[in-house]
Amino acid sequence: MTHLLLYTDPISEGYVILFTGLLIVFTSLVLLALIFNYGLPIMLYVYKIITKGKDKKISEIKVKGDSGFTGELSAVIGASVHMYLSEQHDIESGILTIKEVKKAYSPWSSKIYGIQNRL
């Protein structure tokens, strides 16, 4: 590879990389798309056969029961929950209570012990 680079023109090498690169990116994404389009149902089916209804740990979202439940609906619910939580703070009681805190004496900001101590 490195020896080839010495003698070939970088531009033509560039074209090779251009086309093979694009081809590879596309094929890998197409493969991924195909697998998720056709392979995933098979995988889920196989999983179902293997476990045979033993799977109770993870509760499944029933797709058929919620066919009317679209992404928009869930977005609305999500937004309302978010707004409720973020504005919850505003519904606090307006009564302020200021309690006096008793502390042991500390001379850190004392006016008595200054540099120009004129008693």
Binding site: T2, H3, L5, L6, P10, I11, E13, G14, Y15, I17, L18, T20, G21, L22, I24, V25, F26, T27, S28, L29, V30, L31, L32, A33, L34, I35, F36, N37, G39, L40, M43, L44, Y47, I58, E60, I61, V63, D66, F69, T70, G71, E72, A75, I115, Q116
Partner: protein, 440 residues
């Protein structure tokens, strides 16, 4: 106030008393030995003023005012502009503000040799920059992105994955453009990845290819282009809301912009869990060089979707990614030290970066139109979402959404645009892997 004056005058008195009392003579004789022998008479008086002046002179020679060059000043102004853009227009403030601050930090003029600058071995900034040079930060960022991303829209509609591939045309076209402009192969590869619109990927690839260390077959060393490439990638990512809308309006007709897509089907939790594992295995088998990026991306997603590791996912998408973003932003910004950054190459890279963004966006849009030729009725896609194929998560998806709303106020494209958006991340990581395997 009075106290301050007293303290100050006491201190200054002490400082000026020192040479008079002969406390500083040993230092003085060492530096002014020749002067001392010839001017024995008025040695005492002059030494006070001399030393004070000398001190002030050396102090001045160490200040930024003495060492600043026009390049430093320009870069500091650019840094301030970055911060301004981030605050005022909200263009990716999480990136632009750390980078802007980093640009200012990196361009404060200093005297070399005191382990101050980012390029001096042993300086603190240099240690932090290590994560950029060795490509440590980008995979960690990808881990966080994986833990944040919801791939469900992609699982529901896998054909949208092709749009993420189409936008990678920008990467390879820029790669070719850089070759024609006279960059050598590895440098061009690193410049091309700007078109992937993915900051971490760009940094990762440039740290492997254009790091100023690698030696080519003909004996020349590659240039260090990490700074310019990272800055170009991040600044164009921040400018996505400016670059993309005109292209969308230019290429997509009004009717096409109004196409409504049917809502994606609900995706089960099991599918979401299978996705990262299968995608990890498949993509990294095809392009193993992208393993650090894709491995971490899908690992982060598995943490999110497994339902058992919520704590880890939470850390990855909040604290961890925040820490890495801070370090990455500041060090990348600081790496733009004027004497290294302001070159003809950097300007070329900025030009190429803009072109590659345009090509990537156009590639995505046109490919979406092309796909529409084969799709019928309900399945037709809104070509605007092709623009989200350049990664820039989630900014480009948001831009698509707002553009869609402009033509039809009830057409919500965000969910649909997220699919090409995340597949763009996968696509650009694969593209980076391919370039790396060809040229690394």
């Amino acid at each position: 106030m009075k106290k301050l004056i007293i303290i100050f005058s006491a201190l200054s008195l002490l400082i000026f008393m020192r040479p008079v009392l002969g406390l500083g003579t040993d230092i003085n004789s060492a530096t002014n030995a020749s002067v001392a022998t010839t001017q024995v008479d008025n040695f005492e008086e002059e030494s006070i003023i001399d030393e004070a002046l000398d001190g002030i002179k050396t102090f001045y020679s160490y200040t930024g005012f003495a060492n600043s060059s026009s390049g430093n000043v320009i870069m500091i102004i650019i840094g301030i502009v970055f911060i301004y853009l981030g605050i005022k227009f909200d263009y990716e403030p999480l990136l632009l503000i750390p980078i802007g601050a980093g640009v200012i930090i990196g361009n404060i003029p200093f005297v070399a040799g005191n382990q101050t600058g980012i390029y001096e071995t042993g300086s603190v900034l240099n240690y932090l920059y290590f994560g950029v040079v060795k490509g440590v930060y980008p995979p960690l960022i990808f881990l966080g992105i994986g833990a944040m991303t919801d791939f469900s829209s992609l699982i529901a509609n896998p054909k949208l994955m092709l749009l993420g591939g189409a936008a990678q045309i920008g990467v390879f076209a820029t790669f070719l453009g850089a070759l024609y402009l006279g960059f050598n192969l590895p440098e061009s590869g690193a410049i091309g990845i700007i078109g992937g619109a993915d900051g971490p990927t760009a940094i990762f690839l440039s740290s492997k290819l254009a790091n100023g260390v690698n030696v080519l077959a003909d004996g020349t060393t590659v240039k260090n282009l990490i700074g310019p490439i990272a800055i170009a990638a991040y600044s164009y990512m921040a400018l996505v809301p400016v670059i993309q809308p005109p292209l969308m309006r230019l290429l997509i007709s009004k009717e096409d912009r109004k196409i409504r897509m049917k809502p994606p089907r609900a995706v089960t939790q099991k599918e979401k869990m299978i996705f990262p594992v299968v995608a990890l295995i498949l993509t990294t088998f095809i392009s193993p060089s992208a393993l650090p990026l894709l491995g971490m991306l899908f690992f982060g997603n598995l943490l999110k979707e497994s339902g058992r590791t919520e704590r880890l996912a939470d850390t990855a998408r909040t604290k961890l990614i925040d820490i890495v973003t801070i370090l990455l932003g500041v060090t990348v910004g600081a790496s733009t030290q004027a004497d290294i950054f302001i070159t003809k190459d950097s300007m070329l890279i900025f030009g190429l970066g803009a072109i590659s963004f345009v090509i990537a966006t156009c590639g995505g849009l046109l490919f979406a139109k092309f796909m529409n030729l084969f799709l019928k009725g309900d399945n037709k896609i809104n070509p605007l979402i092709g623009a989200a194929g350049v990664s820039a998560v989630p900014d480009s998806a948001r831009v698509v959404h707002t553009e869609g709303l402009k033509s039809d106020p009830n057409n919500y494209l965000l969910m649909h645009a997220m699919a090409p958006n995340v597949s763009g991340v996968i696509g650009s990581a694969i593209a980076a892997g391919i370039i790396l395997s060809f040229l690394g």
